[in-house]
């Protein structure tokens, strides 16, 4: 494959990144999808929209958050100089809020009066419920019954914020089923409802919208690394489920050839254990069409979607954003994987070494840092996106460690 002149020009007008992406939705939604695309284009060209978003990101979310030199972890691993992009310090404790601020402003601009969203780990649900409280809009969050059980604190948070949390009992009762149910709601309430999709997947223009709103992560890293080290980082590491924090970190650097990028999928009980034991769609899936886009999917021979597994509810999704699928195929980003056990170990190491309890999702990225950093020279600048904090995960971690709380 020939190398493109730029990795940042996608998608094309039909929403394709190479063969991936697109708009595979029911006819009822198509006019609305086209409206969202038009409204988004106009919003980005409007300085007032940009101004309000930047104001909220600063005053409400607390941006910019630090690019933190993880000195003790660096010493311990004895190789690359490790920085954490501290997305877990954002209001609501994860990167998800960046995108929610942008999308609710878009929804208001379109005159929509009701918000729906899907959530897996609950971080996107909490972020959506938060911006709905902020802008006084009714909000329905779809969440799989299985995830409700393993993420009880976030469910309560959403309710405190005034959202209605609807338990999804179809399929495996996890993130993909929550997304199906949100799409069913949207198709039924198409006139007044805006669907805030939390990950860089779904029908065009959502993967682009989410990427653009999350690119604040990478843009800040670029500026901060210049200030702190006077140059670009050498490598970037982020976990990937749908892939919103990863694309947000990577995208501003895609055309900087010296910057290596590694996205880390959830290998669950092990990639070699079979497709029901992990959630690594790129490493263990093949291209297919689901939730409005073509991308790598966990599926059987007959094109039926498989239920992946990960210790982390936020990575437990059988697909991945279409731009990631493309970046994998063109070879610009490396897609690695970390097992449940590796993530658990990284989770504990981060807590004890740096005094930071990371989200289990982010711990997958950290597991890759632990593998790579010792093999690299001390002047190698490595950035991990610490996408969320792990308070929500302490109950499931305790359970895996055999501790009863």
């Amino acid at each position: 494959m020939t190398r493109p002149n730029t990795y940042r020009s996608g998608p094309d007008e039909q929403g394709h990144f190479g063969i991936f992406g697109g708009r595979y939705v029911a006819e009822t939604l198509m006019p609305l999808i086209l409206d969202v695309e038009k409204a988004y284009r106009e919003a980005r060209a409007d300085p007032a929209f940009e101004g309000e978003m930047l104001q909220q990101l600063k005053q409400y979310v607390g941006r910019p958050n630090p690019l933190y030199f993880a000195e003790r972890l660096t010493e311990k691993l004895g190789g690359a100089k490790i920085y954490f992009k501290r997305e877990e310090l954002n209001h609501t404790g994860a990167h998800k809020i960046n995108n929610c601020i942008g999308q609710i402003l878009l929804a208001r601009r379109m005159g929509k009066t009701r918000i729906i969203a899907e959530t897996g780990a609950g971080q996107h649900g909490v972020a959506t419920a938060t911006v709905c409280a902020l802008y006084n809009m009714p909000c329905v969050i779809y969440m799989g019954e299985t995830d409700i059980a393993r993420q009880a604190p976030n469910v309560f948070r959403m309710k405190l914020l005034g959202a209605e949390v609807r338990a999804v009992t179809s399929g495996a009762k996890t993130l993909k089923d929550a997304m199906n149910e949100a799409l069913r709601d949207w198709v039924t309430n198409v006139a007044d409802t805006f669907y805030i999709i939390g990950t860089a997947a779904g029908p065009h223009p959502y993967p682009t919208i989410v990427r653009d709103f999350q690119s604040v992560i990478g843009n800040e890293v670029k500026t901060q690394m210049q200030e702190q080290e006077g140059r670009l980082p050498d490598s970037l590491v982020a976990c990937v489920g749908g892939g919103s924090n990863a694309i947000g970190l990577f995208h501003p650097f895609l055309d900087d050839p010296s910057v290596a990028m590694v996205a880390v999928e959830a290998a669950g009980r092990g990639l070699d254990k079979g497709p029901l034991d992990h959630a690594a769609s790129i490493n263990g899936g093949r291209p297919g069409v689901l939730h409005g886009n073509r991308t790598y999917l966990l599926q059987d021979e007959d094109g039926q979607i498989l239920e992946g597994h990960s210790i982390s509810a936020g990575l437990d999704y059988p697909g991945v954003g279409p731009e990631h699928a493309w970046l994998n195929d063109v070879g610009r980003v490396t897609y690695a994987a970390a097992t449940d056990a590796e993530a658990l170990e990284a989770f504990q190491l981060c807590a004890k070494t740096e005094g930071i309890i990371p989200a289990l999702e982010s711990a997958h990225g950290l597991a890759e840092v632990i593998k790579r950093a010792p093999t690299l020279p001390k002047d190698h600048l490595m950035v991990l996106c610490l996408s969320g904090r792990g308070d929500k995960d302490i109950f499931s971690v305790a359970q895996h460690l055999g501790v009863s709380l």
């Binding site: 697109g22 595979y24 939705v25 029911a26 006819e27 198509m30 399929g171 199906n180 198409v190 039926q304």
Partner: protein, 284 residues
């Protein structure tokens, strides 16, 4: 009219069926069942019995794990079929068996794109044609993605039937009609299958609007549950589509273990007969 002619396959079983209905001066009944629900053998019996019970056209659902446009009844029927081992290949086998007994009743496969994509588009179209499939309704392939399956299907001589909805406005309608053939399927509500029913006046107006833009027959579906409702639709549309109500009737006949109670296939066919009577008497 060259553009239109090119976008339609040669005269099909579907075209002939609608011509016959027109000659009879009545609307048709389109029945939906899910392939392999509740198991492949019972489904074959049900499928084979539909024409005699009064089904004029048959929609056969290709089960998918993630039927995003379907309500609880069809979601559950898809999962039952998958649990019973249904695949695309076995779905085509059901059609091929049916065709040995019935050369005239059109069969339209309805479903989602991924199982077909996984099967391979060219191989699927060749096998579907050979099995006696007449048309396709693929919910998640809007005109924007016509290159995927719609255009190859037309080339393979299979009708690609498009859904139009209350959200399909005047501006968009030409794009939706462009590569549609066989008939137009008007989804009478913005929503998923088997839930609310549309007001009759709204359906009348929508059918009239479609007729102004296209000479294709118009079938109306989503939310038709009773023979009386089917009859109402049959007064103004060229066909009434009933799906969830039939699938629910079948589901009600399953015992706790999911096995079919005796006489259930006959009961479902009896219900289809009532629907057909409603449709046939509508313009009397």
């Amino acid at each position: 009219m060259n553009a239109v002619a090119e976008s339609r396959p040669p005269e099909s079983r579907i075209d002939r069926r609608f011509q016959a209905l027109k000659a009879e001066g009545r609307a048709g009944l389109v029945t939906f069942i899910t392939a392999g629900d509740p198991d492949p053998v019972a489904c074959q019996t049900l499928l084979d019995g539909l024409p005699a019970a009064g089904a004029d056209l048959i929609e056969l659902g290709v089960p998918f794990t993630d039927p995003m446009a379907d309500g609880p009844a069809i979601q559950a029927s898809s999962l039952r079929a998958l649990a019973a081992g249904m695949t695309v290949r076995k779905t085509l086998a059901l059609v091929a068996n049916f065709r040995q007994k019935d050369a005239d009743t059109p069969i339209i496969l309805m479903g989602y794109y991924n199982p077909i994509y996984a099967y391979g588009v060219d191989r699927f179209l060749a096998d579907a044609k050979a099995s006696g499939v007449d048309g396709l309704i693929i919910v998640d392939l809007p005109p924007e993605e016509d290159g995927e399956l719609c255009v190859p299907a037309i080339r393979a001589g299979i009708n690609f039937i498009r859904l139009t909805t209350p959200t399909t406005d005047e501006k968009r309608l030409p794009a939706v009609l462009k590569n549609t053939s066989g008939f137009l399927y008007y989804v009478s509500i913005a929503g998923i299958t088997g839930t609310a029913s549309a007001a009759n006046t709204a359906v009348d107006a929508a059918v009239a609007r479609l007729k102004r833009h296209s000479d294709l027959p118009v079938a109306v579906g989503f939310g038709i549950k009773t023979p009386a409702q089917a009859a109402e639709v049959a007064r103004v549309a060229d066909a009434a589509v009933v799906g969830s109500a039939i699938v629910t009737r079948l589901a009600d006949g399953l015992d706790e273990s999911g096995a079919l109670r005796p006489g259930v296939v006959e009961d479902v066919l009896g219900f289809v007969r009532e629907l057909a009577d409603g449709v046939r008497g509508a313009r009397g």
